[in-house]
Assembly symmetry: C2
Homo-oligomer: 499 residues x 2
């Protein structure tokens, strides 16, 4: 079923000359299939088809778009083991994760499909003495979605961005992530089959292979592209944001980027359950080999004997968890390099590192610690080390802890581990965190982002490029629509659901 070709509307196409392979990090070998990088002509055709499809697709009733999106979920489900095997061969991730992420992906698709069965999501509003002004949300136009390295299913080809944009009435062009081009092609095939079967216009979806940056650049710069969704690094997201902002007609870019997800632990919490917290966080730090955007990369507390015990305990527990391979040797290399850079800073101390035998691309989980004053002075320590790494900052006092939070860049999440007797004095910490994050977790872990209405997955820059929207949950659809008003319109010309 994998051909290595691009999906340009309903056609499989491979007119370009550049090819590449995906890599099996667990076996440390290239995978079999060869992928054809999309050519400039293929990019243009995909955009042209999307532009034309938009005219029809945006006027397609919600129930029909819902049927399309439900069909996508069913087609992906029908891929079964072929999908899971390809997924595992391209990521090194275990079967349980493949199946879990697939379930999340299907759930997201079906959630957006259900949302658009009725038109309430468009926020229809009427005003005026004779209801002469009627407003509703309409789709922006063709959306480009960049696949994420760390979520080949849930934030890639048919992930949250694609599902919400298709639900909104926007055609989608996916720039497939090169690390999992095969998974991407399988899912793209499922989307195309669903589109054909449910009578959607050709061009409502295309999937472009690309191993470099050129395809993405051409997509974002094209005048007929009207919005961009991205999940990945700060460098990548910022580059796309800048490109989109420099267009003659700038377009919105929703990029969900890096985060170190600070966790604050109070002295009381350490005294009452320090050992439990150490185990919970050792698990959270190493979950998915630390390759989650909500990975807890920074732990903050006030220095104390109990904190010293906790740091060592967390180190021992983290280092004792089995090593596992990262998604790609490049990600492993970056993890090693970033870790080395951070550990080379003044006053930082490596507490523990996985000591077992590792294979190529397998990550050594690491815990380090640093005094609060040193952290405050040195922004190199504030960088994300993408992988199973966490830095424990031991502050002089709570005032310094608050100062650190205030100085931090924007984050997806902040977590507070505290006891009821702490609540009163927590207010300055809650307030400082509120300024810097999109979601505060109380006595939990930041990893695990529920796909529900009340979820905020986004936050002040650089957690995301537009904190006014969430990338997860029903409200993610708002990224791809704009309000539109009909004034004094005859019934005959109004959209059906506004009559």
């Amino acid at each position: 079923m994998i051909t290595g070709k691009n999906h340009i509307g309903y056609t499989r196409s491979a007119t370009g000359n550049t090819t590449y392979h995906t890599f099996n990090p667990k076996k440390n070998i290239d995978n079999e299939h060869k992928y054809y990088e999309a050519s400039t002509q293929e990019i243009k055709t995909a955009i042209s088809l999307a532009h034309t499809a938009f005219q029809e697709y945006r006027a397609t009733p919600g129930v029909q778009r819902a049927a399309f999106i439900h069909a996508i979920a069913n087609e992906i489900e029908a891929l079964g083991d072929t999908l899971f095997e390809t997924y595992m061969s391209e990521t090194g991730l275990p079967e349980g994760r493949a199946k879990g992420e697939c379930g999340r992906t299907l759930g997201q698709l079906r959630m957006f499909a259900d949302l658009i069965q009725k038109e309430d999501w468009r926020n229809p509003t009427v005003s005026g003495e004779h209801n002469e002004l009627k407003q509703l949300s309409i789709p922006l136009g063709p959306v480009v979605v960049f696949g994420a390295s760390n979520f080949p299913l849930a934030y890639s080809t048919a992930g949250g961005d694609t599902a919400s944009a298709l639900a909104a009435g926007c055609p989608v062009i996916v720039k497939s992530h090169p690390m999992h081009a095969g998974t991407g092609e399988l899912v793209a095939g499922a989307i195309v089959k669903a589109a054909r079967d449910t009578g959607m216009p050709e061009g409502v979806f295309s999937n472009l292979n690309s191993s470099g940056i050129e395809v993405g650049v051409q997509l974002v710069q094209h005048p007929k592209v009207k919005a961009v969704g991205f999940t990945g690094s700060i460098r990548g997201g910022r580059a796309l944001y800048d490109l989109a902002g420099q267009r003659k007609e700038p377009i919105p870019v929703f990029a969900e980027m890096g985060s170190i997800n600070p966790v604050i632990i109070t002295q009381n919490a350490l005294e009452n359950r320090g050992s439990d917290i150490a185990q919970t966080y050792a698990d959270s730090i190493t979950l998915g080999v630390g390759q989650f955007c909500t990975n807890p990369g920074l732990i903050l507390g006030v220095a104390s004997p109990e904190m010293a015990v906790f740091v060592n305990d967390l180190g021992a527990k983290t280092a004792s968890i089995d090593s596992f391979c990262m998604l790609h040797p490049n990600i492993h290399k970056a993890y090693e390099a970033m870790g080395e850079e951070v550990l080379a800073q003044k006053e930082i101390q490596l507490v523990a590192s996985y000591q077992g035998v590792t294979e190529p691309a397998f990550a050594q989980a690491k815990i380090a610690t640093v005094p609060g004053a040193a952290f405050l002075k040195n922004t190199k320590l504030h960088q994300e080390v993408f992988g199973p790494f966490s830095l424990v900052v031991q502050c002089e006092d709570e005032a310094q802890l608050v100062a650190i939070i205030q100085q931090m860049e924007g984050q997806l999440t902040g977590t507070i581990l505290a006891e009821p007797e702490d609540y009163e004095r927590l207010r300055p910490i809650v307030e400082a965190l509120q300024d810097r994050v999109g979601r505060i977790v109380f006595n939990g872990v930041p990893t695990g982002v529920a796909v529900v209405d009340a979820m905020t997955h986004g936050g002040p820059y650089p957690a995301s490029t537009d904190s006014r929207f969430t990338a997860v949950g029903n409200q993610a659809i708002k990224r791809w629509v704009r309000p539109f008003s009909y004034q004094g319109f005859p019934q005959e010309l109004l959209p059906k659901f506004l009559k």
Copy 2:
């Protein structure tokens, strides 16, 4: 009551060396007062105060912020004739307009104050089996508002941007428009008095004088500023948008900019009521000396004998309306220059121009016409001529008319003048317009923007820099907030309205 000083929090300050005067375009003389351009230190102090005030102001209950905003409206109302006289002396606009715009301004303030009496506007949402995830909208932080030349009250110091940002819980720093610095100072004084009287933190509002671009640049580049509101030219809005996008932490800019507001007239409408339309549009084109962002600068129809009659009729009626002074000699100069540039293009024909005696800064209203093919080829004809100018494009057929709409830049509004027998064939026009505008008006005029829930004042770039929001109506508050989630939070630490 006018001192020429800046309002830096609760202090009147004038530490800078640069001064300027406002101008009375009707009398063609400088006004009396001297205004002190804000110094770099004053800018920094205003931002620092706003940043500090934000911590307290965002946590102020809605009813208290509402009381503050109601007090602003009352204080502005209490300025009475002083305000109107200053307004008229700085704009040349008549008393009726001053009073009308003041009424609109008070209405907007009171609307936002009423909106935040309850917390529904925050869209509070709960999810999870045990409601463990609670989401609501929280304010972004200090907002910079740029006063608009053409609305000294309704879109300036205490205009829609300021009212919605204060309502959202964001402190506001106004960059006063140099053409009406006196009006701005009076209104700023009213806001500061209201803030003091209702116990708001110092720094919740500041007003900075500025005759050049430097104050605005410093404001937009400052890391503690978190969003920008602007109403004005494409050049000015784009410059701010670019500055904000180039920051280390980019921030949202909502700029409402130029628009030529296309009006489509069908043959049936021309035949049935061409003369009435000519009168209605002559009035709309010259309303406020054409200085509205929704001014109808482009009229589209299919060439016919009736169209030829209409064009001459519109010209005659427009040219017969009394001339009036524009807001400022610079605006008048730009009107003349832009008009000349457009009229120098190939195949364009001047139909009529006001022929009476005009004084300096008084505008000659003009109607011109051009064939559809020439318009399609020449984007110089698509530019806004800010003032009482409208270009009638006579198309070969409806296909050409649709092609023109499709090729146009984004617009605030589009208008259709049609008869019931036209409805079926209007669909391609409605669809093309929907892609290019934020509001379609049916059998009306685009001028007159009702401040109601269902209003969309915004549109695809360059009508605004973010079409996903409106600048007018209750929903304008959404520009200044972001979603925020509390996960597993103890009741004690939740905001009151989420408990």
